[in-house]
C-alpha cells in the first residue's frame, strides 16, 4: 500500500518536468528537407546544436575549429553537430556557399524565420547547446573564445561515462 502511494506521488511530480522540451516547429535543412529538432535529438547519439550566422565571425571560428576535431570526436563519442543558421531574407542563400567552401560535414538547418531562435531564447550568436544521447540538455553557452570548444567534448565524454555506469 505504501509503495502504491509513493509511486502515485512521484508520478504526480513528473507532471511538470524541469527539462524544457525541444521546439517542434519544422525548419529546412540546406538541401531543402524539412526536419524538426525532436527528430534529430535524443536518438541515441549526443548532439551539439550550434546557432550561427554567415556574418558572425566568432561563429565561423567556432565551427571551423570544431571541424578540425570533428572526425576524431565522432569516432570517440558518435557525436553529431547540427549547425543552425539564423540568417534572414536573401542572406539565407549565402549559407550553402559558406558551408561548402569551408568543407563542413555538419547537418545545417535554416532558421530564417527565427522560430528556433525565439523558442530557445537565443539573445546572440554563437550559442551552443549540448544534448546527451537520450536528448537531455547538458550545457548551453553563448559566445566563443579560442579553446572553449574543448568544453563541449568534455561534457559529452562525462555524460557517456555516467550512462555506462
Amino acid at each position: 500500500m505504501k509503495k502504491v502511494v509513493l509511486v502515485a506521488l512521484l508520478s504526480l511530480f513528473t507532471f511538470v518536468t524541469i527539462q524544457a522540451q525541444l521546439p517542434k516547429c519544422p525548419v529546412q535543412d540546406i538541401d531543402g528537407k524539412k526536419v524538426t529538432l525532436p527528430q534529430l535529438i535524443g536518438k541515441g547519439k549526443p548532439v551539439i546544436l550550434s546557432f550561427f550566422a554567415t556574418w558572425c565571425k566568432p561563429c565561423i571560428n567556432e565551427l571551423t575549429t570544431i571541424a578540425d576535431y570533428y572526425e576524431d570526436w565522432q569516432e570517440e563519442t558518435g557525436v553529431e553537430l547540427i549547425a543552425v543558421s539564423i540568417d534572414q531574407g536573401a542572406d539565407v542563400r549565402k549559407v550553402k556557399p559558406l558551408v561548402r567552401s569551408k568543407e563542413w560535414s555538419y547537418q545545417v538547418l535554416l532558421d530564417s524565420n527565427g522560430d528556433l531562435k525565439q523558442q530557445l531564447s537565443i539573445p546572440a550568436v554563437p550559442t551552443v547547446f549540448v544534448f546527451s544521447a537520450e536528448g537531455k540538455q547538458l550545457y548551453r553557452h553563448t559566445g566563443y573564445t579560442p579553446g572553449s570548444e574543448q568544453q563541449l567534448i568534455r561534457i559529452i565524454r562525462d555524460s557517456l561515462k555516467s550512462t555506462k555506469k
Partner: protein, 585 residues
C-alpha cells in the same frame, strides 16, 4: 481502506487523461507532459554624464533599462506563451519602446497536419519582401500580428499559411485589445502557399533536383484617419480637398528556388497596389520589388551573385507611420553584413523607395599541408556590393509637387545616383594549432544625404583590419583586433562641422581575454584621429553561469546609427555603465 478508495479513482483518472503513463517509452512520456521554459533578459545603462541624455526638465536621466520576461508552456498538442516587457525608462535610442505590460500572448493548438495560433504570432512569406512579422530587441522592433494564424502541411512538399490580424505598435493598445482606439491602424489578411513540387515528380526527385514555387497574397484594410498629415489640393472651384487613402491595399508575390548539385537559382518578386503613405510622399503608383540570386558551391569553393530592384516598397499598417513602426514587410540590405566596428561605422539602410542593388561573394579554401599555403591552408573571401538609386525618366519635378499624383516615373533598368558600395578581400590563415589570424581590406562609399539624411558627400573610405586569435593555454585565450579607417577627405578638406561629425580617419584597437571559457574580459578604444579627436574607450566583463550570462561594461560609445537587417535606429552618444543579463530556466 479509506486511503485505497481515495487513491484508486485518482490514479485511474490520471492514467485516463494521459497525463502520466509510467510504462510508456521515454519519448512518449515526454510528449504526455507539460513542460515550461522561462527566459529573462535585462539591458541597462547608467548614465554618468551631466550634460547628456537630458529629460524634459533638463536633468540628466540616470538609470535606463529594457526588460523582457518570456514564459512558454509546451505539450504534445497545445502550447501557450506570454512575454511581459518593462521599460518605463528605455535605453538611449529605444525611446519608442517606452511603456510596460504584456507585449505578447498566444495559444497554439497542433493536431496532425494542422496548426492554429490565436493571439500574437510571428511569420514571414518567402524572404519577407511582402510580409514579415518579427522581433528585434536591439532595434526596438516587434510588429507581431494579433489575430489568428493557420499553418497546414497536408502532405510532404506542400505548406499553406493563412493569417489575419492587427500588428503591434509598442504599448498603444489595451492588454488584450487589437487596435488603438483613437488612431486605428490597418487590418492585415494574407495567404501563402509553398510547394516543393520536385518531391512529387519522380524523375526530379530521383535525380536530386530540388524545385519549389511559392505564392503569397496580403491585404491591408485601413480606414481613413482624419488626423493624418493631409495633402491639400485645390479643385477647379478653389476648394481645398483632403487626401483619403485607399481602404484596401493588396500585395502579391511569387518566388522560386531551384537546386541541382552544386548550382542554385532563386528569385522573388512582389507588387503592391496604390498605397499613398508618408514614406512615398503620398503618391499613388504601384510598388514593385524583384530579386534574383544564383550560386555555385562545391568542396572548398563557392561563388554567389545577386541583384534586387525595389521601387515604392515601404509597406506599413499605418500610412502615416515613421521610423520602424508597424512595418508589414522587410527588405534586408542587399549588402554583406559587417561586424568589425570601423567597417560597420557607416552601414547601409535599405532605400525601399527606390534602389538597384547588386552583390557578389566568392570563397576559396586552399589545399592544406602545402609549403606555400601552410599546413592548415589559407582561406579567401572576396566580396562586392554596389547600390544606386533608380533613374528617373523626368528630372525636373520637385518632390513636394509629387504629393497626390502618381509619383515620379523611373526607368526599370537605368541606374541613378550612387548610394553605396562595399568591396574587399578577407584572408584567414591558421599558422600553428594555437594561432590564427585574419587580414582584411574594405573599400566603401556611402552617400550621406540619402542614407543618413544629412551631409552632402559620398564618403569614401579604405579600411584595414587585423584580427589575431591565440590559444595561450587550455584555460586562457587571447583575441586582438587592430583596425584603421582612412577617409579620402582629410585634414584641410574637412570643414569644422565635418570634423565634429566625426569624418576623417579612425583607429580601433581591442584586446579580449577568455578565461576557462566562462569569463571574457575585453578592453577597446575607438579614436577619431582625423576628425573630432575623441576617444571611445570601453572595458567589458562577461561571465557565463550555466545557461545564464551577465555582461558588465563601462566606457563611452559613439553616437551613430545602429543597424540590424537593413533597418536602423539612431543611438546617441553614451558615457556610463552598461549591464546585460540573460537568464534561462
Amino acid at each position: 481502506m479509506k486511503k485505497q478508495f481515495f487513491l484508486t479513482p485518482l490514479l485511474v483518472g490520471l492514467f485516463a487523461t494521459n497525463i502520466i503513463s509510467p510504462k510508456a517509452e521515454a519519448q512518449e512520456e515526454k510528449d504526455n507532459l507539460f513542460s515550461y521554459r522561462i527566459a529573462l533578459q535585462n539591458e541597462s545603462h547608467y548614465n554618468l554624464r551631466k550634460d547628456n541624455l537630458l529629460d524634459s526638465n533638463g536633468k540628466p536621466m540616470r538609470f535606463m533599462s529594457n526588460n523582457y520576461l518570456d514564459l512558454w508552456l509546451q505539450s504534445k498538442y497545445l502550447d501557450a506563451g506570454t512575454r511581459v516587457e518593462y521599460m518605463p525608462h528605455p535605453l538611449p535610442g529605444l525611446e519608442m519602446t517606452k511603456g510596460y505590460g504584456v507585449a505578447n500572448i498566444f495559444i497554439r493548438g497542433r493536431y496532425e497536419w494542422v496548426q492554429l495560433t490565436l493571439g500574437d504570432s510571428y511569420d514571414q512569406f518567402g524572404t519577407g519582401l511582402l510580409f514579415r512579422a518579427y522581433e528585434d530587441r536591439i532595434l526596438g522592433i516587434d510588429n507581431s500580428l494579433r489575430g489568428a494564424h493557420l499553418l497546414l502541411t497536408p502532405f510532404e512538399g506542400l505548406q499553406i499559411k493563412a493569417l489575419t490580424g492587427v500588428q503591434r505598435n509598442h504599448f498603444d493598445r489595451p492588454l488584450l485589445g487589437f487596435n488603438n482606439k483613437e488612431h486605428a491602424r490597418g487590418i492585415l489578411s494574407g495567404v501563402d502557399l509553398n510547394a516543393q513540387f520536385s518531391q512529387w515528380i519522380k524523375p526530379l526527385k530521383e535525380n536530386d533536383y530540388f524545385a519549389s514555387l511559392g505564392f503569397s497574397f496580403i491585404n491591408k484594410s485601413e480606414r481613413d484617419n482624419k488626423d493624418l498629415k493631409n495633402i491639400y489640393l485645390k479643385n477647379e472651384a478653389g476648394q481645398t480637398l483632403r487626401l483619403i487613402g485607399p481602404l484596401q491595399v493588396q500585395g502579391y508575390s511569387g518566388r522560386f528556388l531551384f537546386q541541382k548539385g552544386d548550382f542554385e537559382l532563386s528569385g522573388e518578386g512582389a507588387i503592391k497596389t496604390s498605397d499613398p503613405n508618408r514614406n512615398n510622399r503620398y503618391t499613388y503608383k504601384n510598388g514593385t520589388v524583384a530579386m534574383l540570386m544564383a550560386s555555385y558551391a562545391t568542396k572548398g569553393m563557392s561563388f554567389l551573385l545577386g541583384a534586387r530592384r525595389a521601387e515604392n516598397f515601404d509597406f506599413r499598417s499605418d500610412r502615416g507611420a515613421t521610423l520602424n513602426d508597424v512595418r508589414i514587410n522587410h527588405l534586408l540590405p542587399f549588402t554583406p553584413q559587417e561586424s568589425y566596428s570601423l567597417v560597420a561605422l557607416r552601414p547601409y539602410a535599405t532605400q525601399a523607395q527606390g534602389e538597384w542593388a547588386f552583390q557578389s561573394e566568392g570563397r576559396w579554401s586552399s589545399p592544406k599541408k602545402s609549403s606555400f599555403w601552410g599546413k592548415y591552408g589559407t582561406q579567401f573571401r572576396l566580396f562586392a556590393s554596389y547600390i544606386t538609386g533608380l533613374k528617373p525618366l523626368e528630372t525636373n519635378t520637385s518632390t513636394t509637387e509629387e504629393e497626390g499624383t502618381l509619383g515620379r516615373e523611373n526607368a526599370f533598368w537605368g541606374l541613378g545616383t550612387k548610394y553605396f558600395h562595399d568591396y574587399g578581400v578577407e584572408v584567414t590563415r591558421k599558422f600553428t594549432p594555437n594561432y590564427s589570424a585574419v587580414l582584411s581590406y574594405y573599400n566603401q562609399a556611402y552617400n550621406e544625404s540619402v542614407i543618413a539624411q544629412h551631409g552632402t558627400d559620398i564618403v569614401q573610405s579604405h579600411i584595414w583590419v587585423y584580427e589575431g586569435k591565440h590559444k595561450v593555454s587550455s584555460n586562457f585565450s587571447l583575441r586582438t583586433e587592430l583596425q584603421y579607417l582612412h577617409d579620402t577627405k582629410t585634414g584641410e578638406a574637412l570643414s569644422d562641422e565635418q570634423k565634429e561629425e566625426e569624418r576623417g580617419d579612425w583607429a580601433f584597437g581591442l584586446i579580449e581575454i577568455g578565461i576557462m571559457s566562462d569569463w571574457i574580459i575585453s578592453l577597446s578604444d575607438q579614436y577619431n584621429l582625423g576628425g573630432g579627436k575623441r576617444h571611445y574607450p570601453l572595458l567589458s566583463l562577461a561571465k557565463t553561469f550555466g545557461a545564464n550570462r551577465v555582461q558588465l561594461s563601462a566606457g563611452k560609445t559613439r553616437a551613430g546609427i545602429n543597424c540590424s537587417g537593413g533597418v536602423c535606429r539612431y543611438v546617441p552618444e553614451t558615457s556610463g555603465i552598461n549591464l546585460s543579463v540573460s537568464l534561462n530556466f
